[in-house]
């Protein structure tokens, strides 16, 4: 796993009710690299935050530590 994925997984685990259900995968598609954040369905709201505020904070930190150009997508585990 990449450093970015590890760091993101740690940041998300700290802010949810079900840390053991958090998984982050770095996937590469034709459109570029994406960090897919999987969380427990009950934690989706927490990770996205009011008005997307928490997801934006996660993206900002990822961009800061070298993940510029890497998408961060939050997906619930049902999908």
């Amino acid at each position: 796993m990449s450093v970015l994925a590890d760091a993101l997984e740690h940041l998300v685990r700290g802010i949810v009710d079900h840390p053991d259900d958090v998984r982050v995968n770095l996937v590469t598609t034709r459109r570029g690299r994406t960090l897919e954040v999987h969380v427990h369905p009950d934690d989706l709201g927490k990770v996205i935050g009011r008005g997307g505020r928490t997801a934006t904070a996660l993206r900002t930190v990822m961009a800061g530590i070298g993940g510029r150009g890497v998408r961060v997508d939050v997906v619930d585990t049902d999908r």
């Binding site: 700290g14 928490t54 904070a57 996660l58 900002t60 930190v61 800061g64």
Partner: protein, 191 residues
């Protein structure tokens, strides 16, 4: 338009008031309440410290984490290597984002909303002096011209420091206007 500024100032006043009232509470309630809230702030710092230390480990960044309680809030400062600049980011944007996440991580553990302040590579400390000077310089401009001056868009932290520096000067006052992230301080001559 100024509600957010007033709110921030209100919170500061609350904290100051809490400090002033602490001795009375010691007499009335045997210090129970003030030591309880002090304990909570120390705990906030500990949780934040663990969260950030693990992040530094994963990123392999050098950094010393210092925990403190100042003016009724937990303060976490990280100092160390050049890598830390990445955690500050352009105009402190990454620092603000990381502070937001750290507050959420603290709240997750304590169940209480946190007002914790995070500083990295002394960015807030140095930026504070710069911003206070921007506030004073623009207050002088308004005093000389009698015309309002609009400043550059700033983060809530930056606006707060500018408002505080302008509030200390007679003959001018300031308000915030616009929506984030374009919200900015406007300096007015006193009516």
């Amino acid at each position: 338009m100024v509600s957010e500024t007033l709110q921030a100032t209100g919170a500061e006043q609350e904290a100051e008031q809490a400090e002033r009232e602490a001795p009375d509470q010691d007499v009335d309630r045997g210090g129970e309440r003030s030591s309880d809230s002090e304990d909570l702030l120390v705990r906030e710092g500990d949780i934040a410290g663990d969260y950030l230390e693990r992040l530094l480990d994963l990123l392999d960044y050098d950094g010393d984490i210092d925990l403190d309680v100042e003016a009724g809030r937990a303060v976490v400062s990280i100092d160390g290597g050049d890598d830390l600049e990445k955690l500050v980011g352009p105009r402190g944007s990454v620092l603000e984002a990381l502070q937001e996440l750290t507050r959420l991580a603290v709240q997750q553990e304590t169940g209480v909303r946190s007002r914790l302040m995070l500083d990295i590579a002394r960015w807030r400390e140095s930026r504070r002096a710069e911003l206070a000077e921007i506030g004073r310089a623009n207050a002088d401009k308004v005093l000389a011209s009698g015309q309002p001056v609009k400043l550059q868009p700033m983060t809530p932290f930056e606006r707060k420091v500018v408002h505080d520096s302008i509030a200390a000067i007679e003959g001018v006052h300031s308000e915030s206007e616009g929506e984030e992230p374009h919200r900015r301080v406007v300096v007015f001559p006193a009516d």
